[in-house]
């Protein structure tokens, strides 16, 4: 029995052949996408891979498997920070989404002047473009006792004034209110843009048939806004998990650990407890959880409106 000599695998040759098999247009598409993929690879993939490597190694013992993950998940303070983050999200997100949607509907239905619409658009952009640290500093001046603007406006500057930054429930409300102020306009802008895509013929037909405002919203506008609402929800949840700057400035995580949200907790583990492997494990866990969440949310995003 004769055995044919093994042929060397020529991967480069195969890639070249596959590349040549593409049409000129397809090749152009890949060439145009290459810088984008390269940038994403450099800015997102490489750091993530490095975080994974850090999460499964120890400075002194090298590869330690899932030990850092076990340590991260075994710390009760992690669950405390998740709970605080959930409370923060439960306060901020409904107000932002319903508030942003409400303002968008109001402007869409009542404001006809393009100049006024442009003015509202610019006003809505302002909170979004202000750095979070600056927002934190400004709101600290709002919430501080004695000379803080809020207590002065409320006429509450005496010994029994509300302590917005050091009473646990009030500190949670104060930090969440900053989020609401900064990000409700973002929801408004997205929803307002979505409302512009609703065909006016459908709305007019419904109005001729005597549809109420609610019916018009429920059966005509909402189907167009649904994918945007899910996208907004995803982005806002991702942002809430990353919330850091204004909370750090306002309360430093206090009183006690009342406002020590997930991102502050990871910072605490990484840079105050100098445990970067455990912090990397936490970052990977959050990344995986967000990916699962996004996958689930994506199932509710229709490919098209048809």
């Amino acid at each position: 029995m004769s055995v044919a000599p093994a042929r060397p695998i020529r991967i480069g040759g195969r890639v070249r052949a596959a590349w040549k098999a593409q049409s000129r247009q397809e090749r152009l598409v890949y060439q145009l996408l290459l810088p984008v993929f390269g940038t994403v690879f450099a800015l997102a993939t490489i750091p993530f891979v490095l975080a994974v490597i850090r999460a499964v190694t120890s400075d002194s013992r090298g590869f330690v498997g899932l030990e850092n993950f076990a340590q991260a998940l075994g710390n009760p303070l992690l669950y405390e920070s998740i709970k605080q983050t959930a409370i923060y999200a439960a306060i901020a997100l409904p107000i932002e989404i319903l508030g942003g949607l409400g303002i968008a509907l109001l402007v869409h239905r009542t404001v006809r002047s393009n100049v006024v619409r442009a003015a509202i658009y610019i006003a809505a952009m302002i909170p979004i473009v202000i750095p979070q640290i600056a927002v934190g500093v400004v709101f600290r001046l709002v919430y501080l006792p004695d000379y803080g603007i809020l207590n002065v406006l409320l006429g509450q500057t005496g010994p029994s004034q509300p302590l917005w930054l050091s009473s646990p429930p009030l500190a949670m409300i104060a930090t969440a209110s900053v989020d609401v102020w900064q990000w409700t306009p973002f929801v408004y802008l997205v929803m307002f843009a979505g409302l512009q895509t609703v065909p006016s013929e459908s709305v007019e037909a419904a109005q001729v048939d005597g549809a109420t405002s609610w019916t018009q919203f429920r059966h005509i506008e909402l189907p167009y806004l649904r994918p945007l609402l899910l996208l907004v929800l995803f982005f806002r949840i991702a942002d809430v998990i990353r919330v850091f700057d204004h909370v750090y400035i306002l309360t430093g995580g206090g009183p006690g650990t009342t406002t020590e949200f997930l991102s502050l907790y990871i910072y605490r583990i990484g840079f105050q407890f100098s445990d970067l492997p455990q912090a990397s494990a936490l970052a990977v866990i959050v990344m995986v959880a967000m990916t699962v969440f996004y996958t689930v949310v994506s199932r509710f995003l229709p490919a098209d409106r048809g």
């Binding site: 750090y248 309360t251 430093g252 995580g253 009183p255 910072y267």
Partner: protein
């Protein structure tokens, strides 16, 4: 043909490689990059940069970051052996971390030696392992090296309204007595507590703890934060002083303390030199200019008053490619004439002769007190790479106690237990 092709490839690679690997010879750099903390602490440094360019022909590029961001940046830069920074500003509690990790160059061989006109404690705080006090177990065998030189001679002091009580408080008993006498609920705080969570409240508390005879660790790294003296000190802060403090000590940071003092709504507090300009000296922003006295930290039950160092040091990362040029800048900065210019531009000098300079003392009334505080000597925060974590634990519990979430006793025992667990895991 093949040779030409090979040369065409190899020659540019060789040129590129030689360019990448070339190390500038000692002291010949034309630019030094300094990582600095954003705020008043680097004001003097920024003022010196044009002068250094003019005198030595070296450009100083000062890259600023807020306190916490600077620490994170330095930790990650050192881990990556990044050569971006030729010099770094570091708060003295960071030194043990960087010293333990071996991230900084020994300044001795680069020609920087102790100068008798600068207080010994300034050299000691930049030395690793520490020349006195407990040394981390894993660091005991290391030779002592000078890893940092103080450029901001911060020592926590005490300020009080000398127009209301001309006699300075000699002890914390006097502090409390005066606070009770001056306190007017809702309008004037008898004592201003800097009680915001973590670093701020710990910085405010440690001089009280030490002066009252308590401590965080003993000489063998045993946790003593829950012994009687330490518990009494915590109680003194969160009960006695809180009863005569501003409305919301739990959210007060240094800038808030400055505003309270500047508005005439506070009677006394501890204070860092960097705060003094805005809080009490600049008549354009304060109502109490000329009405405030400065003293070293008052005596406590231990019979002594112990200030706390918060020195900012300059160090040279091992990865820097301009080691000698960076060391030359430090030497230049420590010269008496440079220090004088530095002080005239809001820098906080460490030279005793500059701190006692009569002319400078007219505009910086706290300089002689600072010189006295440096000679005392003040304490430094425990020299362990675990300090940030320890500070976080103590700061969280103290803040909780100040905001009514825990009693003084619970704060002491809770913090002590967590610190014991932490230190045991770290091999102490």
């Amino acid at each position: 043909m093949r040779l030409h092709r090979s040369l065409a490839v190899l020659v540019p690679i060789a040129i590129l490689a030689s360019a990448c690997s070339s190390t500038p010879s000692a002291g010949t750099a034309t630019k030094l990059t300094i990582a600095a903390v954003q705020g008043g602490e680097d004001a003097g440094l920024k003022a010196l940069a044009p002068m250094y360019k003019q005198q030595q022909g070296v450009t100083l590029e000062i890259v600023e970051a807020p306190y916490d961001a600077l620490y994170s940046k330095l930790v990650t830069a050192f881990q990556a052996k990044d050569a971006t920074y030729d010099l770094i500003m570091m708060d003295d509690p960071w030194m043990p971390k960087f010293g333990t990790d071996g991230s900084l160059s020994d300044l001795g061989p680069l020609g920087i030696t102790a100068d008798p006109d600068i207080a010994q404690v300034v050299w000691d705080v930049g030395t690793w392992p520490p020349p006195r006090g407990p040394v981390p177990p894993k660091e005991k065998a290391k030779p002592k090296q000078l890893l940092g030189v103080t450029i901001v001679g911060n020592v926590e002091m005490f300020m009080y309204r000398s127009d209301l009580t001309p006699t300075a408080p000699a002890s914390y008993e006097d502090v409390l007595t005066n606070a009770k006498a001056q306190n007017k609920a809702g309008s004037v705080a008898g004592y201003i507590i800097r009680g915001k969570a973590t670093n701020p409240v710990v910085a405010d508390f440690l001089p009280i703890l030490w002066s009252q005879g308590g401590d965080v660790f003993d000489e063998n790294w045993n946790v003593v934060l829950d012994n009687d003296a330490s518990k009494a000190a915590i109680k003194f802060l969160v009960e006695d002083l809180k009863a005569v403090a501003q409305t919301d000590p739990g959210s007060t940071d240094a800038s808030d303390r400055d505003k309270i003092m500047a508005n005439g709504q506070g009677y006394q507090s501890s204070v860092w030199p960097g705060e003094i300009g805005t809080a009490v000296l600049d008549p354009t922003v304060t109502k109490v200019a000329g009405k405030v006295g400065f003293i070293p930290i008052p005596k406590g039950k231990s019979g002594k008053g112990v200030g706390m160092m918060g020195n900012w040091l300059l160090g040279i990362p091992k990865a820097s490619k301009n080691q000698q040029a960076a060391a030359d800048f430090i030497k230049w900065m420590l010269q008496a004439d440079t220090q004088k210019t530095y002080a005239q531009n809001n820098g906080i000098p460490s030279r005793t002769s500059i701190l006692k300079d009569a002319e400078l003392g007219k505009t910086n009334v706290y300089f002689p007190v600072l010189a006295e505080a440096l000679q005392a000597p003040p304490n430094w925060r425990p020299r362990t790479d675990q300090w940030n974590a320890v500070e976080k634990i103590i700061g969280t519990h103290l803040n909780k106690a100040l905001t009514g979430g825990e009693t003084a006793d619970q704060a002491a025992t809770g913090a002590a237990a967590e610190i014991r667990t932490l230190m045991k895991a770290a091999g102490y």
